[in-house]
Subunit: 108 residues, 2 copies
DNA sequence: TAAATCGATAACCAAGGAGTTATGAATGTG
DNA sequence: CACATTCATAACTCCTTGGTTATCGATTTA
């Protein structure tokens, strides 16, 4: 029961505001905090806090440039999410296959 | 800004206990509430509540049989999640392609 | 240098939600 | 019929967390 990699991703992306910020970084690339705040619908400290959480989850990186900080998405951080989904689908599929086999054997 | 389909999925799957229940249903197929409670680490009412939330999100279906309820995973409900991830990756990729194009043109 | 801008942090508040126990309705079993 | 089992709901508590305002250090700019 150690910390699985998808755990933090689900938790981090669950909040709409935070996910919105991440989506914008994916769509439009690198942005400063002011730029993000302008369209986040919440205060600048709130945005900063969200960026901190996103960074903690490895979903964004930041680059300092003078007095402003540029944030950008780290798209490969999403991998554990797609892995998890594939795994779930895989489980389901294999049980389905087992059932198919069983039915096939019963048919003979 | 209407309710996007992935919204409820992220919110629902964010909780570890709830996700654990869903995972078990994916792995092992249909289960009763008692069976799920046995290994969920929380009380039966808690499990029932989680199942209600999962059902609301379309992630599980239930089948009544006498006095017990059998729950099972609805695997295709995960589609909006994979769609979202693909979309994010897509945005990132296209910006990357644009950059590549730009560099290529500058090179000529 | 004085004023303005950027962004992080602290301190606080309110709401949401995950957990609990208690209970009851419905079904099965002796 | 009496008892046990299953599971959903209600009522409650408590902690987490997303939001706010206030502030401050670090930069630019006038």
């Amino acid at each position: 029961m150690t910390q699985q990699p998808h755990e933090i991703l689900f938790r981090t992306l669950a909040d709409p505001t935070r996910r919105g910020i991440f989506e914008r970084l994916c769509r439009e690339g690198e942005q400063t905090v002011v730029a993000l705040t302008a369209r986040a619908g919440v205060s600048q400290p709130a945005v900063s806090k969200h960026l901190g959480v996103l960074k903690q989850a490895g979903l964004v990186r930041d680059r300092q440039e003078g007095r402003r900080t540029h944030y950008s998405a780290r798209i490969d951080a999403l991998a554990p999410l797609t892995d998890w989904t594939k795994r779930m689908t895989g489980f389901w599929q294999s049980r389905f296959d087992d059932l198919e086999d069983l039915l096939k054997r019963m048919d003979q």
